[in-house]
Symmetry: C2
């Protein structure tokens, strides 16, 4: 048995199991203070059979470098009380079990690689567009960490102020991918909840445009074999065909591969794992 | 002894050796027809001691996937006579020796990893800006191939038509990175040879701006530990401090790492290998 912790800024979910068909999942636990939240996590694992290892996919920024003195910490988060918090170390010591630690999005990518939309693909990316934009990346069968970890939400995009006067709401970069495409950005641009926008509203065409531009960048930089798009905004499934079409149009035949030229419906896809994607990814991380 | 072939669209260079201090390099051979060019390559290797393996870094696009029926081919190049040309297979059969095959830029990156500006760094990128823009990428100690191979020159950049009315000259995308920053793009925008532009000409500030925007994208996507900038345009060394400053300003403190915040002079650097970089990279490829 393995353990998994999906650690979000709003709530934590824990699980014990081995795969999507064999898993016990906790109720969501509100993310309050670190001490209180960790106590709920520890209590969950103490109530269940012992696990061989626990995987943690955490909100960030996090230190995921094994050789660093702050490995397993949540680092510079603006979330009150959580900056510079040892996470992996506390869980490991309290439960006496080895821990793997990565970003929430890398962990979700790993779950999709093991049981979801990227089975058998050693080069792909998983992009999530919701209240923020994040992404997990696999290259040559291994998750990308590098200097820190990928921050796919912060690439800078072309924006035509005549077509889109909204300047973007990223506090660091204004009109980066995250500043233009999240739920809160949509809310601010259109002055209504994005959920109330009809599916033929021009908001979605503009949204698909920005996402397609970003995917062109990612495709040219990473040469992925598939791109998985998840998160709350991507529940607007009308976006998928619009993004695929604009992605092809923008690339304009430059990347000559049948996966892009002919089979784009299987190149840009939604995630295959459902509600338990995050915690399943954490279990996959523990099993690595 | 190992062999190396740097295969450019204008000229080929071959070498036999083991490292930068122990290498015999051919005169440049004009890239004429495939048959004629390959004959010159084969003659060079027949005149030298036998090699254990030959590495080829080739202009492209190329098929670098070992399991593909066209592995080792130059594929859809517009260069007359070279489309769909078996390269690795011909060299291997004629010389009776095993061959490694990759893009010219991946190969150059490998040389920098082994003997140059990226020794000991398993996550970095090598970007070349000259008559075109290309890039080699290493992640977790391995070159990135993915679906095809990275095409770093074709990410789409923000361009303000009021500051830069030049629309870009990429035949596929107009104002992608390649369309805005190459030598030919500079020539077309400023109507003079870029070599004649004084170092305080506004051309260089604009050039640094676009390159810095692209590096923000690459840094957010790949999380590299170093970025090496080479190619003819980057011989304008006044660009380096301008690019570093704009890179930091554009990131605006978002990527919180001392390598970027404090030590950017060692984060964005020129290549360390000199004239024989390409062919040394090819030898490094053979030695992998």
């Amino acid at each position: 048995m393995f353990g998994g912790i999906e650690a979000g800024g709003t709530e934590f979910v824990c699980a014990v199991g081995t795969n999507p068909q064999n898993i016990v999942v906790s109720d969501p636990m509100s993310t309050t203070t670190p001490a209180e939240t960790f106590q709920k996590v520890i209590a969950f694992f103490r109530q269940h059979p012992p696990v061989k290892k626990i995987g943690i996919g955490s909100f960030g920024p996090v230190d995921i470098h094994r050789d660093s003195p702050t490995f397993g910490y949540i680092t510079t988060t603006p979330k009150p009380g959580w900056a510079n918090t040892d996470f992996a170390g506390v869980i490991s010591r309290e439960l006496g079990v080895a821990v793997e630690f990565d970003t929430d999005v890398n962990t979700a990518a790993l779950g999709e690689h093991k049981w979801g939309a990227a089975v058998g693909l050693d080069d792909f990316l998983y992009l999530t567009i919701g209240t923020g934009v994040g992404g997990g990346v696999m290259v040559n069968g291994r998750l990308v960490h590098g200097l820190i970890h990928p921050e796919l939400g912060h690439i800078l995009l072309p924006r035509d102020p005549l077509k889109d006067p909204f300047e973007g709401n990223c506090p660091f970069h204004k009109d980066c991918l995250e500043g233009l495409t999240t739920g809160p950005a949509l809310q601010k641009r259109w002055k209504v909840s994005p959920k109330t926008l009809p599916i033929d509203h021009p908001a979605w065409e503009l949204e698909a445009e920005y996402i397609a531009i970003a995917l062109v960048s990612f495709a040219c930089t990473l040469s992925p074999k598939r791109i998985i798009l998840g998160g709350g905004v991507m529940r607007q499934i009308q976006l998928f065909p619009m993004i695929r079409r604009r992605f092809q149009e923008l690339l304009n035949g430059y990347l000559q591969h049948p996966a892009i030229l002919r089979d784009v419906d299987h190149y840009i896809v939604p995630p295959a794992l459902g509600d338990h994607a995050g915690v399943l990814g954490a279990i996959a991380l523990a099993q690595q």
